[in-house]
Symmetry: C4
Subunit: 193 residues, 4 copies
């Protein structure tokens, strides 16, 4: 099986996920601008999740570009990743509708953590299938970004029950870490790690 097929299917699923999330933003009944106010947390949750799904789409493609063949386990690890990604619209909706309360903020982190773990499993299976001279292994290096992200999600989950602001700050920080391609920070963090 060639990676292009897995890529096309994953692209389809991710394109649908990023789009149906917006369906959680239910059209309000009022016709004044005030009617939009209760939607603000839903909107902000949508923005955050849109960025996260965008990051996954981006990284997923780079990973598959460094892959030459797709084995059975890789295929299922990919579906496993898509499964956790598919829960993002649900957690986004729950978080948004409850003005980013503790439990929804924790669950949001829980699903992000599972996505992150599923991504790392997929990465390892691809590397394992490529053998010693794996292109992907070289490309990701120590993968400090992936590891740091997982740790921060794991911290954000219990933190949500102290203050949701901490959790949200951590989610925003991780998203920025992937968005901003600052080589300097990257090198520094890589050295320190």
């Amino acid at each position: 099986m060639k990676p292009t097929r897995v890529e096309a299917f994953s692209d389809g699923v991710i394109a649908i996920l990023i789009t149906i999330m917006v369906l959680e933003m239910k059209v309000p009944h009022g016709e004044t601008l005030d009617a939009l106010l209760p939607l603000l947390p839903v909107f902000l949750s949508y923005v955050l999740s849109f960025i996260y799904v965008g990051i996954y789409w981006n990284n997923h493609h780079h990973m598959l570009h460094a892959t030459d063949k797709v084995t059975g386990p890789v295929l299922w690890a990919n579906l496993h990743l898509l499964f956790w990604l598919s829960l993002i619209p649900f957690t986004t909706g729950w978080m948004g509708e409850n003005h980013i309360a503790s439990a929804p903020a924790a669950l949001y982190g829980g699903v992000l953590l599972m996505c992150s773990i599923a991504y790392m499993i997929l990465q390892r299976l691809i590397i394992a299938s490529q053998g010693e001279h794996s292109v992907l292994k070289k490309a990701i290096g120590r993968d400090w970004k992936g590891k740091v992200s997982s740790v921060l999600y794991a911290v954000a989950i219990p933190a949500a029950f102290l203050s949701q602001k901490i959790s949200i700050a951590l989610y925003v920080f991780v998203a920025l870490m992937w968005l901003v391609p600052d080589k300097r920070i990257e090198r520094a963090l890589s050295d320190w790690h």
Copy 2:
């Protein structure tokens, strides 16, 4: 007509199906973790259906890879399969919302049975279109897995009215049978058959 076109369209439909299923998991109104509890059967139904649709996507592609040309009947047999697959989100939602009651569990099996039959019809039409030296015919052999699956679905439907646990156990068993690629079991069952 080339198979790539049928493959792309089927991929699109399957990607949408696997994603809209999650829309049945309605965002709960409470903001505590308790609010998620009633969603547990919906979630578990979703997991099961996600795996089933994943298996169909996987097998469908392998089948089309062993196909060189698409005739009119093959095209409609493929749409017929997509039709039954498209009912999985509905039966998943009905089963989940009713805490896996008898009738929904039976209907779930009914739709799986129809998917299975539709798949076998498609397989036969492709083999028929390939003539005597059909690659697909060799590849599937006696297709014991397909036949056993159909029989187990047929058993699970009436069994749901005795105990839904039997039906669910059968659905999970069939899913595992397709997921776990144990060559030994495969050979044993193939011999026994």
Copy 3:
């Protein structure tokens, strides 16, 4: 602009249309088989529309295969066709929820008529862009099927206010006419025409 691009986009839209139609079949609240009974007209409407969208997908592809370049007007004629096709889920839902009452059955025919007209406009623009030796012109011949379909839809619309059964019978007849590839009938009708 190459036709492959228009084909891919149209395929995407049609795949989504055929799939979201099933969302109109809302999960019932009861847990017995009786709870499914009120859904029967919704289900039957879905089956009919699934077949219609399948026929359009099929014909649309054959048409684009006989097309070599896509001009601006062809592009917009194609979007115009997709627009009317996109209304099929709505009319299907309205017809199904009202046990196939007169007005919904008439509107269903109205949208089918508009799809049919949009299809013929697209066909003409492609032929016009190909000039005298148009491959598509030869392939469709007198296009009696397209013309007969349009006439039958136009008959079915007012007929729905006499008896919906006539309209539904006409919609089913047109669908069968496209599904069953009987060369004899085809020739006979073509001669008579």
Copy 4:
């Protein structure tokens, strides 16, 4: 990263957007034609948005065809454009459900303005990545259409609070400006500009 991949993903998202907009047209409960009457503004909003998304799909492709490589900033600028496009179904639904009241008509223009700005940012980043002899730069010229559109949206937003008819007229005018490929008007406006 090649532009085909970004094109395929964007096509997927746009195909889904154009299709889910129709879901805002909720199936009415009555079974007479009168029951459709309250849906008229929803329908007209849908028509307008369908045309807008169609125009974006069309222009987006032409732009990517004049692009040879996709850099990181271009990728994110593209996701940024898709983000604002993804809000069109929401604003369409809000405008339609409130019989095109002031605030929804203003918000509709606001989202169109953001789409327009996001499009221009994407355009600039592609041109910047191509260097001095940018093909895209030549192709768009002074981009008077893009600039005029943005100005008209900006006028339509406050105008909605005076009279929604002005705003709607402006939205329709901009859509026609992109639809009708009148070279004479184009040249005249370009000269005047």
